[in-house]
């Protein structure tokens, strides 16, 4: 039987649930934006959403395609310049949760969005870091959303664009970084968290109907599982309804604009 929701939907819902009403969240485009706004429209109406374009406490009715759509500014408490956003707000240490995704991730939640192959002779030139290098170290903690595949979850990154736990315990501290780093990775198949002892990403819950074999087949390193491995609670009808309505509004808006 087909599931009542897609893998992307449960990934987004799992990410939304991780957000708290009093979080100040630095939002990236795509799945993070969907998750943050789903949280705002469900259990976390008071959440403060900040986009790197400078919009503070924004409440978009439709999901932005870029991090600077007009909708974000029109519904924001205020909008500051980009230098101020990075200086006073991100570096200022006022962001409790930063959302990141990437082309590739390793077992210590370091991310690559720069190149595949060598930097000087890249096989694939990716967009680059953008805000990620400083988001990864200046936010209180980091949530990551990525769909699993052996091309994305790799044994070794060709390039480290943003820091997770480096080479393991103590790496962040050795660099003078005082923030927590990645505390949760929401994928289309499972949720992973860093092991308290080793910092290695460990599966803490499998989405309904997903087997360990299925998850391992999409991961480039030998996965470890939490002792109390759980099953991710499926999206509720309310969560799915709000998310799909949001996506539908967005599709109508973006589809009708040329």
């Amino acid at each position: 039987m087909r599931p009542a929701y897609t893998p992307t939907e449960i990934m987004t819902v799992a990410a939304a649930r991780a957000l708290r009403n009093d979080d100040v969240c630095f939002v990236g485009i795509g799945a993070p934006s969907a998750a943050c706004n789903l949280a705002r429209l469900t259990h976390a109406p008071g959440i403060t959403l900040i986009y790197e374009s400078g919009t503070i406490d924004t409440r978009p009715d439709v999901l932005p395609l870029s991090i600077g759509d007009g909708e974000l500014c029109e519904t924001a408490l205020t909008t500051v310049s980009v230098p101020e956003m990075f200086r006073y707000w991100l570096q200022g240490g006022r962001i409790t949760v930063g959302f990141l995704g990437g082309a590739q991730i390793d077992r210590f939640a370091n991310l690559n969005t720069t190149v595949v192959g060598s930097y000087d002779r890249p096989k694939v030139r990716l967009p680059g870091g953008g805000g990620a290098p400083e988001i990864a170290t200046n936010c209180g903690e980091i949530f990551i959303t990525m769909a699993m595949s052996t091309r994305a979850f790799v044994e070794k990154l060709p390039f480290i664009t943003s820091l997770g736990f480096g080479t393991g315990p103590g790496s962040r501290e050795a660099l003078g970084v005082t923030t927590r780093g990645p505390t949760r990775v929401m994928t289309d198949l499972c949720v992973l968290e860093p092991d308290p002892g080793t910092c290695e990403l460990t599966v803490v819950s499998l989405h309904p109907g997903v087997s360990r074999e299925k998850v391992q087949a999409e991961c480039g390193w030998k996965l470890r599982y939490a002792g109390d491995l759980a099953e991710t609670p499926p999206p509720t009808a309310d969560e799915l309804g709000v998310l799909r309505e949001l996506q539908a509004r967005t599709a109508r808006a973006h589809g009708s604009d040329a």
Binding site: I67, S81, P83, G130, A253, H254, D257
Partner: protein
Amino acid sequence: MAAFLPLADAIAANIGDGDSLAMEGFTHLIPFAAAHELIRQGRKRLTLYRMTPDLIYDQLIGMGAAEKLVFSWGGNPGVGSLHRMRDAVENGWPAPLALEEHSHAAMANAYEAGAANLPFAIFRGYKGVDLPKVNPRIRSVTCPYTGEVLATVPAIRPDVTVIHALRADRAGNVLLEGILGVQKEAVLAAKRSIVTVEEVVDDFGPRSPNAVILPAWTVTAIAEVPGGAYPSYAHGYYRRANAFYKDWDAIARDRDGFLAWMKENVLLKRPADFAGYRNRRAA
């Protein structure tokens, strides 16, 4: 003191082959009309600065105007890759493109330092990442009070900065509103500046006492180009043409299709044509 000029004259008078050029606009107010005029005038060997080289630089790079790109995120926001930029970097077509890559925080601080007439900026960044290994411009200083080592970036001081703004008044003062990006800093950091505007008004009228305004004496040339930011947007004038950003992925994917599109939509057009674009339905 700002001179009111036709866009073609403003570009011809202020931008030459080999110049360093910042065309800014953080998703909002991207100066597409100015970029198209630059392409029509056939400028070459430009060093291009921009935090987010999206479609506007994909077009300049694909037409062979650039020899170097200084940037922090090169993609089509929410859509995917910049195929022309990738083709230049991965295959050297139509010409090789040198890259100087930073983070957003670094670029924003570099423009800020340029506006403040400082030679460099300090910030807390690049911890535990590989970019400093491949970019020798990323350096550090030690805090003389705490001993903390902070990252540094050289100030951005372009020969010319080009931006699109909402309005200019008859005196040549320029008003920015909405998502501000780094445009004010980029203009103040540059030797010369060109500003395209949606409209020229007699007076800005009632406004916040802290409105974001570039005084006339900080701007070199102003050109009135309604719709000049299309397919990006102008707060209060027209919305972002998100569908076009999605369409661009197919347009730019192969070289012939790209060249055909550029010929029809850029080489054979004029700045005045942008006035029509902004009337299209947009979200």
